[in-house]
Structure formats: structure tokens, C-alpha cells
């Protein structure tokens, strides 16, 4: 099987990111004088070039590119999610400047791994075949295992890395077993081929088991209950910029790939997966929010809140099959839009924790960096850092779903759509869950605005301020004029069919 150069255009944006990442690793290793500027320009250039390639695909090319025997397809949904992933990657690259200098992590490895993970995610959302889905899922997971444990001397980071790896490997095996069963039942790995086989009226238990195991694999990767046990430990132990990166991009990529699998491979068998997703979404919203209530560490609270937000996004997928048994694939658009809003608010909230980092005296005279983690670390920051605290307040209100922020519109669009399709129960549960979530989001704001400061030596990092400002701007922008973004999300799903 040969391919033409034209087909390479389907993976051109991801390739640009990958090459920039590899060059960053090479630069760090083989060029003696290591400058941060060179890395930043290289990786930033890669991200911008990939964005430009995606933009030209969206505005000039317009038709989807099917490449490599329809294994990869660069359509509007892939472009939409790739742009969200690239935006998050760009912001994380800026904010990880703080983490790498403070903790003395090699720039080349850190930036290179982030770029490789981003490129794998971009190819994952463009994957139209279980073979490419598997390879990209694995490449991004491998990069993230290493990123989690990249602060090598830190026992918490090591532990987080081991836990992530063990649960991730477990999930991969489940996913692959499901793929093997689907292959046994249908004789193909291509999503469209599986759809054709299922459309012929194939109804073997093997296909059901296969689809179920594939969904378990995805649920592990995006951290949906009951497969969320690794999330809090991993998110807490990883360097905060890594946490920010994986909490937003893995969900965007994983949910994107899940949407593609459900909509292309098994749309007419929604009776097989809709109920499963319904229960998973409800459990994820409830458990995520209830666990987040009990946390005193803000980082851990945000980890559980990201579990809860996975649940909100899953509501859209679970209600694609409306109560009068019709299948409404357009519903997935609200999940895409929600993922976009979630990207900026979560990234901003985690970046604020990096911004407020301070130095802890270590055992042997050295000092160790500690990002703001507990509520007391943030107490009274509104007086000393009014702008940053205001931005953090904006992110938290957006996460809680207060207008006029992006988070409100995301949730509104999601739950209104669910009610429209007759799923009132899940919408009510979702609204109740986000009311509960307001308690712990507002608690942070109360500590920031109404308590006396408890630490005096926080050392804000200027580049993180840029990230906070950009993320805040995006959160407000999507909140005030969501029309273009919602239209883009709806168009992405409409093209998918």
C-alpha cells in the first residue's frame, strides 16, 4: 500500500508539532549552549505553524482529507479539537517555563514530551481506524507517564507516575481486548467497516463485549467514574503545568475519539451504549463533586472537579439517543463546545496555582519549590495580587457555571439540549451537581478575599501571568459571544456523518 504526498497533508499539522518536539529534544542534547529562548521559539513556532496549517485547511481546503486508506481523516471535527489542543499546548508551554526553571527540569525533555503528546492527541482526534486510535492513544499516554514523573527526585511525582502507568496500562489492555473482539466479530479495524458490519444486522455477543471493553478503556483514559481512581493522585503528584496540560488535553482528545467511535462505528446500535454512558455520566458527576467537597488541597479539589466535568461532557454523549428512541448525533456538538470552554477555565485555574508558588526550606539547606496547593496558601491573596485573584475568581465561577462566563454557556447548552431530547432526569442531576460544586469553588474565593494572608513569600512568575490573562480573556470571550464557537462545534459534528 503506497500513499501520495497529498495524503501527508492529513497529518501535516500533527507532523509539524512532532518535528518541533523532536528538534527541541535534539537541541537540548546535541547543542552545547542551551538557551530557553531557542526552545520557546522552536516549540511556539511549531504550535503556530500547526495552527496555520489547520486554519488553511478550514478556510481554503474545506473538504476533509482522507489519508492512508481512510485511517486518518482531517475533517472539521479533527480541526476543531486540534485547535483546542494546540491552544492548550501553547498556553502550557508558556506556563511550564515556571515549572522547568523552578524545579530544574530539562527544557528539551519537558517541551519535547509535551509536543509529542500534543501531536499524538491531534492525530488521535483525526483517527478513523482502531489501529491509529490505539497507536496515538498509546503514544500520548507514554509521553504523559514520563511527564508525570519528570521531577525525578520528588517521591510524590514518582508515585503518581507509577500509579498512572499501572492504571493506564490496565486500561490499554482492556481497550485492546475490546478492539480484538470487535475485530473478531466484524473482521475489520476501520470504524466505517465496523458500522457496515453492524448495519448488516450483526448482533453477536462478541461485538457487544468488544464495544463495552473499548468504552471501559476510554473511560479510564478520560477519568470517568468508576475508572477515576488514579485521577486525584496523579493530578496531585504531577508538576502543576503537567497537571494543567493533561487535565484539559487528554479529555479533549479522549472524548473526541470516543465521539468518533460512537458516531462512525456504532451509531445505529445506540441501544448498546447509551444506557451505559447514562449511568457513567451520572456517577461521574455525583462522585466527582462529592469527593471534591471534602478536599482541603485546592490542587486535589481541581482534580476531582475535572472528574466531575468529564461527567458533564459525557451527558451530551449519553443523551444522543433521545427518549423517543431517535438518534440525534448533533447532540455531540454540545460536548465539543463544553470541552472548549473547559480547556481555558481549567488551564487558567491550574496556572494560578503555579503563579502563586513559593519556596519551602528543604532538609539540607536547599530550598524546594512548592506550588500553591492548600487553601491557606491562597488565603488573602486578593489584597496582594488583586488581578490574579480576580482572574482565579473568574475561572472558579466559570467552572461553577455562573454567567456570563464560558462555563455557564457550556453547561446551559449541554443541559438544555438534554432536556430537549427528553432526558430530564440527567439534566436535573447535572444542575444539582453543579450547584453542589459552587460550594467548593466559592470556598476558594472566600479564602482569597476574606482571610488574612498566611504565606508571605510567594514569588509570582511573570510568564504565568500571561497565561492567566490569555485564559481569562478566552473564558470571557467565549462567555460573551459564544455564537461562532457553537456554530463551529455544530458544523464539526454535522460534517462527521
Amino acid at each position: 500500500m503506497t500513499f501520495t504526498i497529498y495524503e501527508l497533508a492529513a497529518m501535516q499539522p500533527a507532523l509539524l508539532v512532532m518535528i518541533a518536539g523532536l528538534l527541541a529534544v535534539g537541541l537540548d542534547t546535541f547543542v552545547p549552549s542551551k538557551t530557553r529562548i531557542a526552545h520557546a521559539m522552536l516549540c511556539g513556532g511549531g504550535v503556530i505553524a500547526a495552527m496555520a496549517a489547520l486554519g488553511s485547511q478550514l478556510y481554503y481546503q474545506r473538504t476533509a482529507i482522507h489519508a492512508f486508506g481512510n485511517m486518518l481523516v482531517l475533517d472539521d471535527m479533527a480541526c476543531f479539537l486540534s485547535l483546542a489542543i494546540l491552544a492548550a499546548t501553547g498556553l502550557v508551554l508558556i506556563s511550564s517555563d515556571a515549572d522547568t526553571t523552578r524545579r530544574n527540569i530539562g527544557f528539551g525533555e519537558y517541551y519535547g514530551l509535551i509536543m509529542i503528546a500534543a501531536s499524538a492527541m491531534m492525530m488521535l482526534v483525526a483517527s478513523n481506524d482502531f489501529m491509529t486510535i490505539f497507536v496515538n492513544l498509546e503514544v500520548l499516554s507514554l509521553a504523559l507517564y514520563v511527564l508525570t514523573g519528570i521531577t525525578r527526585k520528588n517521591p510524590r511525582s514518582n508515585e503518581a507516575s507509577v500509579k498512572y502507568l499501572v492504571s493506564g496500562a490496565f486500561a490499554t489492555c482492556f481497550f485492546l481486548m475490546g478492539v480484538a473482539f470487535l475485530y473478531g466479530a466484524t473482521g475489520t479495524f476501520a470504524l466505517s467497516g465496523i458500522r457496515e458490519a453492524l448495519a448488516l444486522g450483526l448482533d453477536s455477543s462478541m461485538a457487544r463485549v468488544g464495544l463495552g471493553m473499548v468504552m471501559v478503556g476510554f473511560a479510564f483514559k478520560i477519568g470517568a467514574v468508576p475508572f477515576h481512581m488514579w485521577v486525584p493522585d496523579v493530578y496531585e503528584g504531577a508538576p502543576t503545568s503537567t497537571t494543567a496540560f493533561m487535565s484539559v488535553t487528554v479529555k479533549a482528545a479522549g472524548v473526541g475519539a470516543l465521539i468518533r467511535v460512537l458516531l462512525i462505528a456504532a451509531p445505529m446500535r445506540s441501544d448498546l451504549w447509551a444506557d451505559l454512558l447514562w449511568w457513567m455520566a451520572v456517577a461521574t458527576m455525583v462522585v466527582g463533586n462529592l469527593m471534591a467537597l471534602q478536599q482541603t488541597s485546592v490542587k486535589r479539589m481541581l482534580a476531582f472537579s475535572s472528574v466531575a466535568h468529564t461527567g458533564y461532557a459525557l451527558v451530551a454523549l449519553a443523551t444522543m439517543r433521545s427518549t423517543d428512541e431517535t438518534f440525534v448525533p448533533e447532540a455531540a456538538a454540545s460536548a465539543l463546545f463544553y470541552l472548549l470552554t473547559y480547556t481555558f477555565m481549567t488551564l487558567g485555574a491550574f496556572s494560578f496555582l503555579i503563579y502563586m508558588g513559593h519556596e519551602l526550606p528543604g532538609k539540607d539547606g536547599t530550598s524546594e519549590w512548592q506550588d500553591a496547593e492548600t487553601l491557606s496558601d491562597l488565603a488573602g491573596m486578593a489584597d496582594r495580587r488583586p488581578w490574579a485573584a480576580a482572574m482565579m475568581g473568574l475561572f472558579l465561577l466559570s467552572l461553577g457555571g455562573i454567567p456570563p462566563t464560558a462555563g455557564f454557556l457550556g453547561k446551559f447548552y449541554l443541559f438544555a439540549g438534554a432536556i430537549e431530547r427528553g432526558h430530564v432526569t440527567i439534566a436535573v442531576i447535572g444542575v444539582m451537581a453543579s450547584l453542589v460544586s459552587l460550594y467548593y469553588y466559592l470556598r476558594v474565593i472566600v479564602w482569597m478575599y476574606m482571610k488574612e494572608p498566611m504565606i508571605a513569600d510567594e514569588k509570582p512568575h511573570p510568564s504565568v501571568a500571561v497565561v492567566i490573562a490569555l485564559a481569562g480573556l478566552a473564558t470571557l470571550l467565549i462567555g460573551v459571544m459564544p455564537g461562532a464557537f457553537i456554530a463551529a462545534a455544530e458544523h464539526s459534528i454535522a460534517v462527521l456523518r
Binding site: 499516554s141 475485530y183 475489520t188
Partner: protein, 99 residues
Amino acid sequence: MDVRFYLSLAAVLFVTGVYGILTRRNAIGIMLSVELMANALNLNLVAFGRYGAGALGQVFAMFSIALTVTEVVVGLGIVVLLYRSRHDVMVNLASEMKR
């Protein structure tokens, strides 16, 4: 030979691996269990490919072998780091973070 023999063997291997992951506390033991699961599904892929579905199953199995090995390699690297920081590879002792 029937494809069911291969599927049964793969099921036994897979369940052994799952049991190992759930009960083992030694990180190396967990890696071994992951490999068992991976081999079970490779066996499934190859068996399905051989009995009907075509050569694609073998191709997928090759990718799966390469990538699961990479995963185990990264895992062992991380375990070595864990050993250096706490001189033990028991995962249940690794609890720096609160429950």
C-alpha cells in the same frame, strides 16, 4: 483446531493478568501481569486473523507488541526511579499522598 481453543487460552491468560494486577503489590509483578494481558489480546488478534478475518489481525498484533513493550520499558524506568527514591518497589507502600 478451532478458534475457540485460542480464545479460551487467551481468556485464561487475560483473567490471570487482571488477577495479578489487582492482587500484586510489587511493581515488577504488576508489569508482568500487564504483559500477560497484552499477550492474551495479541493471541486473540492473531487467532481471529488466522481463522477468517484476514492478515490485518497479525499486523495489529505487531503494533500492539511493539507498543506494549515500550509501555513496559517506560514502566520499568519509572520503577527504577521509585526504587532510587524509596529503596522499595512495593506500590502499596507508595502513599505519599493522602487517601
